[in-house]
Amino acid sequence: MKTTAACPSDFALERFLLGELPREAAEVAAHIDGCEACQAKVSAKRADDGDFTRSAGAASLRRALSEPKPARADDLRGEHRERAFPARRSILTGLAVAAAIAVSVALSHRRPPSATTWVTAKNDEETVLRVQREWMEAIRDKNAAALDRILADDYTFTDSRGRVSTKEDSLRQARASGARMKAFHASETKAQVHGDLAVITGRVRIEGESGGEPYDAELRFTDILARIDGQWRAVAAHMSRPSAR
C-alpha cells in the first residue's frame, strides 16, 4: 500500500479516529502504521477521549445539553457569564434539525456509539475484518451457531448467478450434508467503515465439493456489515465470478 509522505493534518487524524474520513482512510491508516509521530498523536487523542468523557467538565456539559428544561447555561456551571444566551429551547430544536441533515450522511439510522463504547475507526476496521473471517470459517466448518450469530436477521445473499437467498437458506445449507467448502483463500481484502456501516471488498478462492464433484472457483465479493446493538453483523453479501477467467 502506498504510504503518504507528509503526515496527515490534525483534522484528518480526528476524522480518521471517528471513522468519518471518507476517501483516504486506508492511506492514513498505512501512514500511521509507519509513522511514530502520528502513532503518538493518535494514542494521545485516544487517551484524551477517555479522559474527557470521564471528566467533571464533560459531565456538566452533558447535563446542560440533555436537561429538558435547563436553567441558564451559566447557572449550570456555576459561573457568571457576560454574554446572554438565546433561548435554549430553540437552539436545541435547531441543533436537532441540523443534526438530522448531517446525520443522514455520517451516522446510520442506528444510535451512534455511546461514550463508553467509543471505538476508533482503526479498531472498527480490524473488528469487521475479524467478523468477516469468522463468517467465512463458519461457512467452511458448517458452523450454524456461529452463522446465526454473525448474520443479521434480514441478511440477503446474492450469488454469482444472481440468485438471492436469506439467512434461513444459509443456515439450512450449513446444517445440511452434501456440498462442502474445504478451503478459502481471501486476498485484496479491504474494509471501509462509515459510522455504523462497513463495506468489505476482496477476492476469494474457494475449493470444495458439491454432489461428489470437486470445484475450485475464484470470486469477487462485496460484504456489507452493520453495527447492530454494538455488534458487527452481516446484512448483505454479493459475489461475482470474473468472466475473463
Binding site: R15, E20, T53
Partner: protein, 168 residues
C-alpha cells in the same frame, strides 16, 4: 427524515460522539482547559447560528471541527493572549512568505485587518498545515476559492511588507 423528530439524535448524543474531539480542538487553540470547556459548550449550542458554515452535505465531524476552530479563534479576541496566539499565525504565515523575522509586527497588523473568515482559512492552512482540499471542505468553499484567498493574502502581505521595507 426531518418529519420524524423522535428518531433524531439529540445535542446530547452528538456531544457523546464528538465532544472530546471538539474540546481537544478548542484546547489546542485556546491553551486552557477551562476556556476550552466554555468554547465546547458554545459549539454545541450555537451550531445553527453559523449557518454559513453548516452544510448538510458535510459529516458532523467536519462542521463541528470548523465550529470549534472558529469559536476558539473568536474567543482569542476577547482574551489577553489574543496577540500571543496571532503570533502563532504570524509565524506560520512568515514561513509561507519566506520573510525575515523583523516583520513580526507588520504581519500581525496585517493579520488583524483580515476578515475572520480569511484568518480562519490562513489558520487552517498555515498553522494546521491542512491541504487546500481540507481547508475547502472545512470552510465550505471550492478549492479554487480557498487557493485564491490564500494567494490574495500572501500577495498583499508581500506588497505591504515590501513597502515597509521588511521583505526581500
Amino acid at each position: 427524515m426531518a418529519e420524524d423528530r423522535s428518531s433524531l439524535p439529540s445535542a446530547a448524543l452528538l456531544f457523546e460522539r464528538y465532544g472530546a474531539m471538539v474540546h481537544r480542538r478548542c484546547r489546542d487553540i485556546l491553551g486552557r482547559d477551562e476556556a476550552a470547556l466554555d468554547a465546547t459548550q458554545d459549539v454545541f449550542l450555537r451550531v445553527l447560528e453559523k449557518g454559513h458554515l453548516f452544510r448538510g452535505e458535510s459529516a458532523p465531524s467536519t462542521w463541528l471541527y470548523a465550529m470549534a476552530t472558529l469559536q476558539s479563534l473568536q474567543r482569542l479576541r476577547d482574551h489577553t493572549s489574543h496577540r500571543a496566539k496571532l503570533d502563532v499565525l504570524a509565524a506560520a504565515a512568515r514561513t509561507a512568505l519566506g520573510t525575515p523575522v523583523e516583520d513580526r509586527l507588520s504581519l500581525l497588523d496585517l493579520l488583524e485587518r483580515q476578515s475572520e473568515e480569511v484568518r480562519l482559512i490562513l489558520y487552517l492552512r498555515f498553522v494546521d498545515e491542512m491541504t487546500m482540499e481540507e481547508v475547502a471542505e472545512v470552510v465550505g468553499y471550492s478549492r479554487k476559492t480557498v487557493s485564491q484567498k490564500v494567494h490574495e493574502f500572501l500577495t498583499s502581505a508581500r506588497r505591504e511588507l515590501e513597502a515597509a521595507g521588511v521583505a526581500p
